[in-house]
């Protein structure tokens, strides 16, 4: 498979550039390449970071002295709500995802991520969603209920106006981006590694990002569901969180923190991945305990989902329940401790160089360990009761998030700067930046622990003199401005280095991972030929690898076919299985995100008809997106590959689309089962939950509808099995028939929804049934549409024996419809009858 090219390297690069090169001017908006998209994520994240930081400065200015009249309480509420929301949703997660989008293909020895258009779509959703949220501040309509938007404060009765709607709609829009990034990264890490890069040779950063991506896939959907339910309650009057109508505000807290606590680790783990990547380079030895670190990362990923109730210790949960989550909260310190000890052992046994990135890493270790210790203190229920909602919690949170994320991120930015510019930053400015930030941070937040222990609650816009809070607040405010100067120094250094920094040369830090085998800055295709990987430290093993890659001496060194290609590999062994062909630049991601923006703005303004039209337009664009795939003339009509090379993925049964659909449906499934959880939760806990004596649902009609759905899925499975065996006779006709039956089934479901006497604005019981049926209808209506499109593609020769892959992708959707249908049937029909209600 690996071929040596006789063509000159310069000519080869020109040819690759013709296929992979980025357009300039306004056409640059159509770029889908991961390098550009990753940089856009990080630049946008930096802008949002500065906005969030500015809000923090205003908060600290107001709190510097007792009873300062700088900011009134209503503005203050908006400031702290937006500060938290911007930092968590618009800076931390997109920033680490952006860094991963930029780095992962390079580290894995690939040319791009496997779904480039999805990355671009994610970026535009992030940009537009973030802009919607932040624009609320300029309009004086910023959300003001705190970054976790607790009900009933955020309900229409207590928060009239559109402030909370800005949060719910803007954040949900941004979360589409996060989930898209999670799916993209997880599938890319599993399916597009360099030949021979087995799981045990994978760079640790890829391990961290694999776990983080899957955490995003599982962690974000509960909040997306919560936001949809709360928006439905606010805008349409549905009942979910209103006690009087059978709801429960604690349902919101569960949904929020089911997302919210893993979110902390979603932010921390990529940063820890940066630490595990940089430390060995500067300690000049391999990281101690590779297997232990993999264990710790997997352990942290899982355990972090078992802690959410520790944010709810004061809401009245049984002691034993609290004790479970208290123990789990302490337990998560164990895998984190494993990582800290591995890092310390690496430093201890290495020959560390204290360059600027290392300073930030040492700062991280000091601050994060302190934050982790106060975390264990907060895991103790009696202590948590004492300091709940005080400045102690604010201080702890900043130690974990700033220490655990910002410090490693800046270390990483300094480390990878030569990638972005080909130059090195100033050592002197870098050190000033670090020390000002480190001293300022500790002056702000170490002292804030005492402010909290002295009893100062969070989220108060001022305080009277004489309570002992004035001095620590003043120190914190001064410290925060010192920290701001440090951040400004870092930004100045980075800005200046683009012009004045000295040239970096190849692999300036003598690093071991493949991203340093590219040119600096890299070309859009990363590698002109794709190397095999025989070690965890490919560049330490072969320092000349970059040169032989540039000379085209490794895999896939041809481009005369005009396709963007990278290897598709086995998830476990990393052995090559197929060639993944990738889409080129496209306007579709931008158009889809723009039309979604119209949906969001229409919802904000109550223009529901326009929102519906825009949603249909979005669907149309996404279907067009799916159309330009596989054997389509604009994708890969010519399937010929070089002798000895594997086939194109669209000519097999196991391309990345199959994995992408599966991972997306996992996220979708978490959202659905969160809805089912809400049903059982309210049934069990809500004080005024009043199910009718007899279920309003027509059980027999639903049963028949479900049986029809089952028959369709069996038929589709049979078709795909036949196709696998190479039999594609009457494929088109069979697909048309299944689409027609699917339409009939969806019509039956819509009849059930219309015929059921539901009062979703009067009772949470009916509201949840309505939402569940609506969810099923949406999915069951899309399934025949997808099937009809497949039939059409068969007619055009885009799907069939030659390109059999797509029906297997659509089958997953049908399977998902069947699973959710019967789970709903159990919850809505059988369960109430079973318990006699």
């Amino acid at each position: 498979m690996s071929e040596t090219r006789a063509q000159s390297p310069e000519r080869l690069h020109q040819d690759f550039h013709a296929v992979w090169g980025n357009p300039t001017g306004w056409r640059a908006l159509s770029i889908v390449n991961h390098t550009s998209i990753g940089l856009r994520f990080m630049l946008t994240g930096t802008v949002f970071f500065l906005i969030g930081g500015l809000l923090a400065m205003l908060i600290r200015a107001q709190l510097a002295r007792p009873e300062l009249p700088l900011i009134d309480h209503q503005t203050y509420n908006q400031l702290f709500t937006l500060h938290g929301s911007v930092m968590m949703f618009l800076f931390a997660v997109p920033m680490v995802e952006g860094l991963a989008v930029y780095l992962i293909p390079k580290m894995l020895g690939a040319r791009d991520l496997v779904f480039p258009r999805l990355s671009a779509f994610g970026y535009w959703c992030y940009l537009f969603g973030g802009t919607i949220l932040v624009s609320s501040l300029a309009l004086g309509l910023a959300p003001n209920g705190g970054w976790f938007m607790y009900t009933p404060l955020s309900s229409a009765a207590h928060s009239p106006g559109v402030n909370a709607d800005f949060w719910l709609i803007g954040i949900t829009f941004v979360e589409i981006s996060s989930v898209a990034g999670g799916v993209e990264l997880a599938v890319s890490i599993l399916r597009s590694r360099a030949p021979g890069m087995s799981l045990d040779r994978m760079p640790l950063f890829a391990w961290y990002m694999l776990v983080t991506s899957l955490m995003i896939v599982f962690g974000f959907p509960p909040l997306i569901l919560g936001s949809i339910l709360l928006e439905l309650e606010r805008a349409a009057g549905f009942a979910f969180f209103d006690v009087a109508r059978g709801g429960d505000p604690l349902l919101w807290q569960h949904l929020f923190w089911l997302f919210g606590h893993p979110e902390v680790y979603i932010i921390f783990l990529p940063a820890a991945g940066i630490v595990s990547t940089l430390l060995p380079v500067f300690a000049r030895r391999p990281l101690v305990g590779y297997r232990w670190l993999v264990l710790a990362v997997i352990g942290t990923g899982f355990l972090s989902f078992g802690l959410w109730v520790h944010h709810m210790f004061t809401v009245g949960i049984p002691l034993l329940g609290q004790a479970f989550f208290s123990a789990a909260s302490m337990l998560v310190a164990v895998p984190t401790g494993i990582q800290v000890f591995a890092w310390l052992a690496t430093l201890w046994t290495g020959r560390p160089l204290f360059n600027v990135p290392m300073l930030w890493l040492v700062g991280f270790l000091v601050i994060f360990v302190a934050g982790g210790l106060t975390g264990v203190m907060l895991a103790l229920v009696p202590f948590d009761w004492q300091v709940h909602d005080s400045h102690f919690v604010v201080a702890h949170m900043h130690y974990v998030l700033v220490g655990g994320m910002l410090f490693p991120l800046i270390a990483g930015l300094y480390y990878w700067l030569p990638h972005f510019s080909g130059r090195l930053p100033s050592e002197r400015l870098g050190r000033w930046g670090f020390w000002l930030t480190f001293v300022g941070f500790n002056a702000t937040f170490l002292v804030m622990h005492w402010t909290g222990l002295l009893g100062m609650p969070r989220r108060v816009y001022t305080y009277p003199a004489g309570l002992g809070w004035a001095l620590p607040n003043l120190i914190s405010s001064v410290g925060s401005f010192v920290m701001a100067m440090g951040v400004a120094m870092v930004l100045l250094d980075i800005g200046l280095h683009f012009r004045f920094g000295r040239r970096a040369g190849d692999n300036p830090w003598q690093a071991d991972t493949l991203e340093w085998a590219t040119a600096l800055p890299p070309a859009a295709y990363n590698f002109v030929s794709l190397p095999a990987c025989t070690s965890r430290h490919p560049l330490w093993e072969n320092p000349a690898l970059g040169q032989s890659i540039a000379e085209g001496r490794h895999g896939l060194p041809t481009i005369d076919h005009g396709r963007r290609e990278t290897w598709g590999s086995d998830p476990l062994s990393g052995q090559v299985r197929e060639i993944i062909h990738l889409p080129g630049n496209s306007w579709l991601p931008l158009y889809a995100a723009l039309v979604l923006t119209v949906v969001c703005l229409s919802l904000l303004n109550g223009a529901y008809a326009l929102a519906g039209v825009a949603a249909l337009a979005t669907l149309g664009i996404l279907l067009r997106w799916s159309w330009v795939n596989g054997a389509h003339p604009l994708a890969a009509p010519d399937a010929r590959t070089r002798p000895g090379d594997p086939p194109l993925h669209s000519r097999t049964f196991d391309g990345p689309g199959l994995w992408g659909m599966g991972t997306t449906l996992l996220a979708n499934g978490v959202l659905f089962f969160s809805l089912i959880f809400a049903w059982f939760y309210l049934w069990t806990v809500a004080p005024n939950w009043q199910p009718p004596a007899r279920s309003p649902l027509p059980g027999l009609a639903l049963l028949l509808d479900g049986l029809l759905l089952g028959a369709i899925v069996l038929g589709f499975r049979w078709l795909v099995r036949r196709l696998r065996r190479g039999n594609h006779r009457r494929l088109e006709g069979a697909l048309w028939m299944l689409a027609a039956l699917g339409l009939l089934q969806a019509a039956g479901l819509s009849w059930v929804l219309a015929a059921t006497p539901l009062a979703p604005t009067a009772s949470a019981h009916d509201a949840l049934i309505a939402v569940t049926l609506g969810y099923l209808l949406l999915h069951c209506a899309l399934a025949p549409l997808f099937t009809a499109l497949q039939a059409w593609r068969v007619r055009l020769g885009l799907v069939g024996e030659r390109a059999p892959y797509e029906p297997a992708v659509v089958l997953q959707w049908w399977d998902y419809c069947l699973l959710t249908f019967w789970a709903s049937y159990f919850a809505l029909v059988l369960f109430p009858r079973g318990i006699g209600a």
Partner: protein
């Protein structure tokens, strides 16, 4: 599932997650449907949850032992999966016991 299957890297902690959901939901349902005597240090519900916890932990310990003793596969990546998978199961077993420990001492419904 074979010892070298990549899902072994997650299986133990998936079981731990399901166990946590089950004991938390079981506690809530137990207190709702058949509330045991308030204030008693231990009740039938503690017994039930404790037994479930012990069975889960025993199964996880068993899996960890089985993986540890499995003949090493020829492929290095599979050997890696077997070793880390064994450790994941062991971690999950210890986590089950540690998080379940309060079942021994605390009344369930207060």
């Amino acid at each position: 599932m074979r010892p070298g299957h990549p899902l072994q890297l997650a299986l133990g902690l998936i079981v731990w997650s399901l166990w946590l959901v089950a004991v938390y939901a079981g506690l809530s349902l137990g207190c709702l449907l058949a509330r045991p005597g308030d204030g008693l240090p231990a009740t039938w519900l503690n017994g039930l949850l404790g037994l479930f916890t012990l069975l889960t932990a025993a199964w996880l310990f068993g899996c960890a032992w089985w993986l540890w003793r499995a003949p090493p596969p020829a492929l290095a990546a599979r050997r890696f999966v077997v070793r880390v998978g064994a450790a994941v199961h062991l971690l999950a077993a210890l986590a089950t016991l540690f998080v379940g420990l309060p079942i021994l001492t605390l009344p369930p419904c207060l």
